[in-house]
C-alpha cells in the first residue's frame, strides 16, 4: 500500500486524470477538457456556495488542465479564496495555483498579498512556509514591495522555526535578485552572516546561498562570512567524529553544504588572517587526502558526492592561485581522473585542468598529461569530452610542445565534429602563429588547415597568414613555392586560391626562375581555376593579374587579352567589370615606371594583436580560455571580464578622453584600418595604407596617395566581399559625459552591437528609448537587457526578455521609465546579455541618467535672481570651481550646453554680458531643489569660473561636477 494513495482524497480529480489518459486522440482530450471546464464554470457560477473541498478539487483540476498546455482564464478568484482557508490542503492548492498561474490583475494581487501577510503573521510554521514559498516562487515586484521588510525580520527573529528560517533565507535571496533596490541591506546583515553558525545544517545550507549572492554584490559587507565559513567547513571536513545528524549522504558529510561554503569562499581572495588561512589550507588538504583514501562505498553516489566537494575545492585552489603545492596536488588528482572509467569524471577533470594550465604554478604539471589528453581526442565517444580535450591542449600549449599539439589538432580536425571545427581551426591558427619559430612551419600549418577544413577557415585566418608573409621577408619565397605546389591539386579550396592568388601576386617573382613555375605557368595555373570561383575571389585574382603585369612584363600581352575578353570587360558583375576595365586601361596607359610604383609590393602591416585571437575571444565570449601567457602576465586581472569595458565609469584614461570629446566617428588607432578600409583593399588602394593614424603624413603615405590619386581612385570602392573587418574594433567607450547636456545619441558601440538613446524628462520622471542595433548578420539569442540602479532611482523596463535580436539592420527598441526618488550620483547600469555565435556576451554600460536631467528651467528677472542668490549664501550652499577650458570657448556652444544642462539661460541678468547665468529646479519625488548658476569665462586665460548655489550642498556639488566637465 503506497504511502500516498492515488488522488488522495480527491477522487474526482483522479477520475478526471484517468479520463484524460484514456483519451485516444487529441480531439477526444480537448472534448473531455471542454466538458470539464464547462462543469467547473457552472459550479463556480452556481448559486450554491461551494465548500472548501470542492473548491480545492476544481481549482486543482484547472491547474492540471493548465499544465497540459491549455489556457485557463478563470478560477483565479476561487484560488485566492482558498488562500484564506485554515485547512492546509486547501491553502496549499490555492498557493500552488497562484504560483503556477501568476496573474497580473492588480485587484487579485492585493488579495493575494493580504492572504500572504496573514499567513506570515500566523505563527503557524506550515502556513508561514507556504506563504514564503509563494513569494519565492513568484518573486514579483509587488511582492517585493509588500514583504521586503517582513522577510528579513522573520529570518533573523529569535523564535522563528528552523524550517521557516530556511524558506525565509531563500525567499529573501529571490527578492534580492528580482528587486535589489527594494531589499536594502543594513541592520540584519550581521545577523544573517551569523546564520553560518546555526545549529541546524539545513538553515546553514540555505543561508550560505543567500550570503554568497549578497557577497557577490557587496563583498565588503559580508567579509566576516569568510572566517565563519572556514570554521564551518573545517568542522565538516576535518573532524573525524562529528554528528552531522541527517546530513551525511552515502558516507560523505554534508556534501552540498561543503560545496556551497567553498563557493562562498570563491567570492573572496585568500584570507589574510594567518590562522584562518592555515585552517582553510588544512581543509583543502583534507579534501585532497580523502580523494586518495579507498572509497567507503562502491556506489556511484558516494564517489560523486565526494568528488563534488573535491572539484569545488580545486576551483577554490585555482581561484586563490597562491599555493603551489595545492595546485600541483590538484593537478595530480585530476590527472588520475583523466583515465577514470567514469566519463563524467574524465570530462570534469579535463575542464578543471584547463584552468590549472593557466596558473604559472601548475602549468608544467598539467603538461605532463599531454599524451593522455591526446589519446582522449582519439578515443572519447562523447563529443563534449573531446571538445574539452581540445580546450585543454590549447591551454597547455607553449613553445616546448606546440609542434606536437598543433599536429595532433590538425590530425583530429580531419574527423572532428562539424560543430567544433571552426573553433579548432582558430585555435590551430593561433597556436601556429604564436609559437612559430620557423615561419615555414607556420605557412605549412595554415595551408594544411585550408586543405583539411577549408570551409571552416574564416577570413581572419587567411588574412592573417598574408599579413605575416608580407611582414617577414624570410618566408616569402617559401610561401610562394608552397602555395604554388598546393595549387597543383586538381581540386583545391577557394580559400587556398585566395591565399595563393595574393601571395603569387606579391611574391610570384621569387619562384619565377624555376621553369616549372615560370610566370606563364603561374598565370595559367591560377587562371585555370578562375571560372569556378565566386565573384570576390575572381576580383582578387584580377588584381593578381595586374600585379603580374608589373612583375612579369613578358606575359603582359596574355593578361591583357584575358582582361579584354568579353567575359571580363563586359562581365555582368559591376565589380569585376570595373576592375577589368580599369586594370586594362592602367596597363595600357601607364609607363613601366608608373606601373612599378603603383603596383609596388605591399608595405608591411603594422604589428598588432592577432585578429584571429580577437575572433576566438569573441567566439568564446566571457569566460573564454585565458591565453596562457597573458594570464601569467596579468595575474590579478580577472580572466572572465568580458570583452566590453564598463562604459567609462571612473576617470577615463586619456585615450578615452579623445574619443568622448570628438565626433563619434573618431576611432581608436587599432580599429581605424578595419573600419576605414579592409585589409585586402589596402593592397589595391594604397591611400588606405594602414599607417598609424595620428602619425604625421610622412613621405610614404603622401607618396602612396599621390600615385593612386589619379587613375585608380575608384578602386577604393572595392568593398566588403574582399575583406570584411579583420580586427574586431574595441568597443567604443563613448563616455556618458557626452549625454550630460543632450538626450540623444549613440551610447555604446562595438563590433556586434550599437546602442542608441533617445530620452525625455519631465519633472522627476523620465522616459528613455533604447535602440539596440545588431551589426552582425547573425541573430543574437536570448537578448536580455536589464538595469541595475540605486534606490534613489527607479527604473522599469518595458520589454520582454529572451528576445532574439535579429539580423543586421534590425533594431530592437526598449522603453525605460525612470523615476527620480531622491538626489543621486551613481548612474544606473544597463546590463546586456545575449548569445552570439554560440557564446554568451556581456555588456555593461552606464546609462547617462544624471541628476541634471530632472531640471525644470525657471525664468526670472535680474532682481529676482539676485535676491535668491543672496538667500542662498550659506557657505555650504555654494560650490565654486575654476577650471581650464578643454574646448574652444565659443559663447554659442556654451549657451547651448547650459540650456542642454536643463536650466533656463537668463539674459541680461549679469552685468557682464560675457557671463552666463541660469536657473532651474531639480525635481525628485521627495523634494525640489532650486538652483542658480553662473559661469564666467575668461578667454584670455582660457579658464572658466563656475558658481552654483542650491539649497542642498550635495546637489550643488554634484551639479558642479557634471557641468564643469562640459567646457
Amino acid at each position: 500500500m503506497p504511502a500516498v494513495s492515488k488522488g488522495d482524497g480527491m477522487r474526482g480529480l483522479a477520475v478526471f486524470i484517468s479520463d484524460i489518459r484514456n483519451c485516444k486522440s487529441k480531439e477526444a482530450e480537448i472534448k473531455r477538457i471542454n466538458k470539464e471546464l464547462a462543469n467547473i464554470r457552472s459550479k463556480f457560477k452556481g448559486d450554491k456556495a461551494l465548500d472548501g473541498y470542492s473548491k480545492k478539487k476544481y481549482v486543482c483540476k484547472l491547474l492540471f488542465i493548465f499544465l497540459l498546455g491549455h489556457d485557463i482564464d478563470f478560477g483565479h478568484m476561487e484560488a485566492v479564496n482558498l488562500l484564506s482557508s485554515n485547512k492546509y490542503t486547501e491553502k496549499q492548492i490555492g498557493y500552488l495555483f497562484i504560483s503556477v498561474l501568476v496573474n497580473s490583475n492588480s485587484e487579485l494581487i492585493r488579495l493575494i498579498n493580504n492572504a500572504i501577510k496573514n499567513d506570515l503573521a500566523s505563527r503557524n510554521p506550515t502556513f508561514m512556509n507556504l506563504a514564503l514559498h509563494c513569494i519565492a516562487n513568484v518573486g514579483s515586484r509587488e511582492m517585493a514591495e509588500a514583504f521586503a521588510a517582513d522577510v528579513p525580520r522573520i529570518l533573523v527573529a529569535g523564535d522563528t522555526m528552523d524550517s521557516v528560517k530556511q524558506s525565509a533565507a531563500l525567499c529573501l535571496l529571490r527578492l534580492n535578485r528580482t528587486s535589489p533596490d527594494l531589499v536594502p541591506m543594513g541592520e540584519w546583515t550581521s545577523r544573517v552572516v551569523h546564520l553560518l553558525n546555526d545549529q541546524h545544517l539545513g538553515v546553514v545550507t540555505a543561508a550560505t546561498s543567500l550570503i554568497t549572492t549578497l557577497a557577490q554584490k557587496n563583498p565588503d559587507d559580508f567579509k566576516t562570512s569568510v572566517s565563519l565559513a572556514v570554521a564551518r567547513l573545517s568542522r565538516i571536513v576535518t573532524s573525524v567524529s562529528i554528528d552531522l545528524q541527517d546530513y551525511t549522504y552515502y558516507f560523505v558529510p554534508a556534501p552540498w553544504l561543503s560545496v556551497k561554503l567553498l563557493r562562498l569562499l570563491q567570492c573572496y581572495p585568500p584570507p589574510e588572517d594567518a590562522a584562518i588561512r592555515s585552517r582553510l589550507t588544512e581543509c583543502l588538504e583534507a579534501i585532497l587526502n580523502k580523494a586518495q583514501e579507498p572509497p567507503k562505498s562502491k556506489k556511484v553516489q558516494h564517489s560523486n558526492a565526494k568528488n563534488a566537494v573535491l572539484f569545488e575545492a580545486i576551483s577554490l585552489i585555482i581561484h586563490h592561485d597562491s599555493e603551489p603545492t595545492l595546485l600541483v596536488r590538484a593537478c595530480n588528482q585530476l590527472g588520475q581522473f583523466l583515465q577514470h572509467r567514469e566519463t563524467n569524471l574524465r570530462y570534469l577533470a579535463l575542464e578543471s585542468m584547463c584552468m590549472l594550465a593557466s596558473s604559472e604554478f601548475s602549468h608544467e604539471a598539467v603538461k605532463t598529461h599531454m599524451e593522455t589528453v591526446i589519446s582522449a581526442l582519439k578515443t572519447e565517444r562523447d563529443v563534449s569530452v573531446r571538445q574539452r580535450a581540445v580546450d585543454l591542449l590549447y591551454a597547455m600549449c607553449d613553445r616546448s610542445n606546440a609542434q606536437q599539439i598543433v599536429a595532433e589538432m590538425l590530425n583530429y580536425l580531419e574527423t572532428a565534429d562539424y560543430s567544433i571545427r571552426e573553433e579548432i581551426v582558430l585555435k590551430v591558427a593561433i597556436l601556429a602563429e604564436k609559437y612559430a619559430v620557423d615561419y615555414s612551419w607556420y605557412v605549412d600549418t595554415i595551408l594544411n588547415l585550408i586543405r583539411i577544413a577549408g570551409d571552416y577557415v574564416s577570413e581572419e585566418v587567411w588574412y592573417r597568414v598574408i599579413q605575416i608573409v608580407i611582414n617577414r621577408d624570410d618566408v616569402q619565397g617559401y610561401a610562394a613555392k608552397t602555395v604554388f605546389e598546393a595549387l597543383q591539386a586538381p581540386a583545391c579550396h577557394e580559400n587556398l586560391l585566395k591565399v595563393g592568388g595574393y601571395i603569387l601576386g606579391e611574391f610570384g617573382n621569387l619562384i619565377a626562375g624555376d621553369p616549372r613555375s615560370s610566370p606563364l605557368v603561374q598565370f595559367n595555373l591560377l587562371h585555370s581555376k578562375f571560372h569556378l570561383c565566386s565573384v570576390p575571389t575572381r576580383a582578387l585574382l584580377l588584381s593578381t593579374y595586374i600585379k603580374f603585369i608589373n612583375l612579369f612584363p613578358e606575359i603582359k600581352g596574355t593578361i591583357q587579352e584575358v582582361l579584354r575578353s568579353d567575359s571580363q570587360i563586359r562581365n555582368s558583375d559591376v565589380e569585376l567589370q570595373q576592375r577589368a576595365v580599369e586594370y586594362l586601361r592602367l596597363s595600357c596607359v601607364a609607363s613601366t615606371d608608373i606601373l612599378a610604383t603603383v603596383l609596388e609590393e605591399m608595405p608591411p602591416f603594422p604589428e598588432r594583436e592577432s585578429s584571429i585571437l580577437a575572433k576566438l575571444k569573441k567566439k568564446k565570449g566571457p569566460g573564454a580560455l585565458p591565453d596562457v601567457e597573458e594570464v601569467r602576465k596579468e595575474k590579478n586581472t580577472s580572466v572572465n571580464g568580458g570583452v566590453e569595458p564598463l562604459g567609462a565609469s571612473a576617470t577615463p584614461p586619456s585615450s578615452t578622453d579623445l574619443l568622448s570629446l570628438s565626433s563619434p566617428t573618431s576611432l581608436t588607432p587599432a580599429s581605424t584600418s578595419s573600419t576605414a578600409a579592409s585589409l585586402l583593399v589596402d593592397v589595391f588602394s594604397e591611400n588606405h595604407v594602414p599607417a598609424a593614424p595620428g602619425a604625421p603624413l610622412g613621405p610614404v603615405a603622401d607618396d602612396n596617395f599621390s600615385r593612386w590619386a589619379s587613375s585608380v581612385v575608384s578602386l577604393c570602392n572595392v568593398r566588403k566581399p574582399l575583406g570584411g573587418n579583420c580586427e574586431s574594433p574595441p568597443a567604443h567607450k563613448l563616455s556618458p559625459r557626452r549625454f550630460v547636456c543632450k538626450n540623444n545619441g549613440v551610447l555604446f558601440e562595438n563590433q556586434l552591437l550599437q546602442i542608441g538613446l533617445k530620452s525625455e524628462f519631465r519633472q522627476n520622471l523620465g522616459r528613455m528609448y533604447v535602440f539596440y542595433g545588431n551589426k552582425t548578420s547573425t541573430q543574437f539569442l536570448n537578448f536580455s537587457p536589464s538595469v541595475i540602479c540605486q534606490d534613489a532611482l527607479k527604473t522599469h523596463i518595458l520589454l520582454q526578455r529572451g528576445t532574439a535580436l535579429c539580423v543586421r539592420g534590425a533594431q530592437l527598441q526598449q522603453v525605460l521609465n525612470i523615476e527620480c526618488v531622491s538626489e543621486f550620483v551613481e548612474a544606473p547600469i544597463l546590463n546586456i546579455q545575449f548569445r552570439y555565435g554560440g557564446m554568451l556576451q556581456n555588456i555593461a554600460v552606464k546609462l547617462p541618467i544624471t541628476l541634471n536631467k530632472f531640471f525644470q528651467p525657471t525664468e526670472m528677472t535680474s532682481q529676482d535672481f539676485f535676491q535668491r542668490w543672496k538667500q542662498l549664501s550659506a557657505p555650504q550652499q555654494e560650490v565654486q570651481k575654476i577650471f581650464k577650458a578643454k574646448h574652444s570657448m565659443d559663447p554659442e556652444v556654451t549657451k547651448a550646453k547650459i540650456i542642454g544642462f536643463g536650466v533656463a539661460l537668463l539674459d541680461r541678468v549679469d552685468p557682464n554680458p560675457s557671463n552666463f547665468v541660469g536657473a532651474g529646479v531639480i525635481h525628485t519625488k521627495m523634494t525640489q531643489v532650486g538652483c542658480l548658476l553662473r559661469l564666467e569665462p575668461n578667454t584670455q586665460a582660457q579658464m572658466y569660473r563656475l558658481t552654483l548655489r542650491t539649497s542642498r550642498d550635495t546637489v550643488s556639488q554634484r551639479l558642479c561636477e557634471l557641468l564643469s566637465d562640459q567646457f
Binding site: T126, A136, S140, L170, T205, Y247, N304, A308, E312, D382
Partner: protein, 154 residues
C-alpha cells in the same frame, strides 16, 4: 502599476527543473526564472531533444544555450536540472538523486503514474528541497519527516 514585472534579475543557480518521459511528456516543470509560455514550451522541447539522444557512455552534462543541463535517467524518466555553466556538476547530479530517493520513499517505489496523479504533491516535495533556484534542504530524513507531517494535515 508602473513598476510591475521584474525588470532585472540576477542569475540564480537553477534555472529550471524538468521531469520528462522518453516520449517527451512533461511530468514536472519548475521554473526559477521568468519565461513566457512559448519560451517554456520551446525549452521543454529542446531539452528533450538534447537529452534523449545521449547514451550511457555520454556524460550526464550537456551544454544548453548559455547554461548546462545536468540530467539523470531513471527508467523511462529524465530528471533534468538546468544550471549556470559554472555550477558544480556533480553536486547537482547527486541533488537529482537525492530528490529521486525522497520521491521514492514518499510514494513507496515511485513510478511515473504517481507523478501524474499526485502532481500537486510533487510541487511540495520540490519546494521542500529546492527553493528560489537554490538547494534548500538536503537531509532526506528531515524532508520526509516534514512531508509526512504535511500529509497528516487536513
Amino acid at each position: 502599476m508602473l513598476f510591475r514585472s521584474s525588470g532585472h534579475e540576477c542569475p540564480c543557480s537553477i534555472r529550471f527543473i524538468l521531469i520528462q518521459n522518453r516520449a517527451g511528456k512533461t511530468r514536472l516543470a519548475k521554473w526559477y526564472m521568468q519565461f513566457d509560455d512559448d519560451e517554456k514550451q520551446k525549452l521543454i522541447e529542446e531539452v528533450h531533444a538534447v537529452v534523449t539522444v545521449r547514451d550511457a557512455k555520454h556524460t550526464n552534462f550537456v551544454e544548453f544555450r548559455n547554461f548546462k543541463i545536468i540530467y539523470r535517467r531513471y527508467a523511462g524518466l529524465y530528471f533534468c536540472i538546468c544550471v549556470d555553466v559554472t555550477d558544480n556538476n556533480l553536486a547537482y547530479l547527486e541533488g537529482i538523486h537525492n530528490f529521486v530517493e525522497v520521491l521514492n520513499e514518499y510514494f513507496h517505489n515511485v513510478c511515473e503514474l504517481d507523478l501524474v496523479f499526485n502532481f500537486y504533491k510533487v510541487y511540495t516535495v520540490v519546494d521542500e528541497m529546492f527553493l528560489a533556484g537554490e538547494i534548500r534542504e538536503t537531509s532526506q530524513t528531515k524532508v520526509l519527516k516534514q512531508l509526512l507531517m504535511l500529509q497528516s494535515l487536513e
